[in-house]
């Protein structure tokens, strides 16, 4: 097997696995939510309803691809694609296992931050192009929220970068061979995870699409596969944040007995479970509370974490 073929297998394998996980999450989330809410959830299609995503996919493809006449058509079409592309490209730097990763960039972490910052455009432009009051409000909220939380998301990761001495995710994983970074960087982990929840605008930070106040927020006018792309993009985002949390703070593929890939999936799915549990357990804060939390609590904490970590590293040297 030549290097090129091996590389192509990795690329398409990662793509397939990622999209597969995202699709299956539709079912997993509904089942888990139902489990925690003491009901059944979808259980009709296939064993345990496991084919439910397939059914949903068929239904969503069959729907009319409707573009509102008042909308800005090109932007309206591009917007949902942006988030899927951005998140999928982010997966390129995730080291799934020692020999499995699409691109081993020495600025891998910055690469992830760059593409996560591009995700904002999807929501903002989608909401704007819809030319709908609720959609615009949702888009405004989403962009403000994502910009605010992006700031300290990056800052919270810099502690990890300082400890590992590199932006390269593979090096970061290797640096955790002795001790997972969740221990020295517990504050960084908490901040990053909260920022990740906000970045994917999942509950409890799903204010851009808050059904009760904004109908459906930025995707109020979307239907069919374009809506489906937003939907898939959200699950891809959850997977990405979970995978990154596992990589950056919980040693990635590192672990005893089991093969590295298995460890990586175990950790990632654990955090996906946490995401869903959060949705099941927590109420939604008010919008101003969200922004205030971001700027007045999380940002100072992230800076504190940065300063203390840097100070300790300097002192220890």
């Amino acid at each position: 097997m030549s290097v090129t073929v091996q590389y192509l297998i990795i690329v398409f394998g990662v793509l397939a696995v990622t999209l597969g996980i995202a699709a299956m999450l539709i079912w997993v989330e509904r089942r888990l939510l139902a489990f925690w809410q003491d009901r059944y959830g979808p259980n009709r299609v296939g064993p345990f309803g496991i084919l439910q995503p397939v059914a949903d996919f068929i239904k969503i493809m069959a729907k009319e691809d409707w573009i509102p006449p008042f909308a800005d058509a090109p932007v309206f079409i591009i917007a949902p694609a942006i988030i899927v592309v951005a998140v999928l490209l982010s997966f390129a730097v995730i080291p799934w296992a020692p020999s499995i990763s699409v691109a081993d960039l020495n600025v891998g972490l910055l690469y992830f931050l760059a593409f996560s910052s591009l995700g904002v455009y999807s929501v903002a432009l989608g909401g704007w192009a819809s030319d709908n009051k609720y959609a615009l409000l949702g888009a405004l909220r989403a962009s403000a929220q994502m910009i605010s939380y992006e700031v300290f998301m990056g800052l919270s990761l810099m502690g990890v970068v300082m400890l590992a001495g590199s932006f390269n995710l593979r090096v970061i994983v290797e640096a955790q061979r002795k001790l997972w970074f969740v221990v020295p960087q517990f504050l960084g982990f908490v901040i990053f995870f909260i920022a990740g929840v906000a970045e994917t605008h999942r509950l409890p930070f799903d204010l851009p699409e808050a059904e009760s106040e904004l109908v459906a927020g930025f995707h109020a006018e979307y239907s069919g596969m374009k809506f489906g792309l937003f939907f898939v993009g959200e699950y891809l985002g959850i997977t990405l944040i979970s995978a990154l949390t596992a990589t950056l703070f919980f040693g990635g593929w590192l672990g005893p007995v089991l093969p590295p890939l298995a460890w990586f999936f175990i950790k990632t799915f654990f955090f996906i479970g946490v995401f869903i549990l959060l949705r099941a357990a927590l109420p939604r804060p008010r919008y101003d509370q969200l922004i205030r939390l971001g700027w007045k609590v999380m940002l100072p904490l992230a800076l504190l974490n940065l300063v203390v970590t840097g100070g300790i590293i300097l002192a220890a040297r």
């Binding site: 020692p98 020999s99 691109a103 081993d104 090096v171 290797e174």
Partner: protein, 118 residues
């Protein structure tokens, strides 16, 4: 069990920097800058003018980075970082001014702001 891994593995796809002639990159920077200049001079909309200014800033940043790369020195990138900081400050103030002008003159016409009074 875990396979042994080199501590700092070689990049999968090493970048070969020795192929790009710097002159061409500088010409790209020049073209972008000139487009920015034309935009500033030709457009009347304040937002377009601001965007053209951004184009020019970006083009000069490109020139800096390219020059830095040509010598293998980080100074070019540092200049770009300073340009970034300046652009951020400039845009925040500029956009606030645009908002004010929009409310004041009821539009984004740059020529409407031709009086320096109250």
């Amino acid at each position: 069990m875990m396979p042994p891994i080199p501590a700092n593995p070689a990049p999968v796809n090493p970048l070969r920097m020795d192929m790009i002639p710097m002159n061409y990159a500088l010409i790209v920077a020049w073209v972008l800058f000139v487009i920015g200049v034309i935009g500033v001079l030709a457009r009347r909309n304040l937002l377009f003018i601001l965007m053209s200014v951004e184009i020019m800033l970006n083009a000069s940043g490109l020139a800096f980075v390219v020059a830095g790369s040509r010598w293998g020195q980080p100074d070019g990138q540092i200049m770009f970082i300073f340009i970034l900081a300046m652009a951020a400050a400039e845009v925040s103030v500029g956009l606030a001014l645009v908002l004010l002008a929009y409310h004041r003159f009821g539009g984004l016409d740059a020529d409407a702001a031709n009086r320096m009074k109250g």
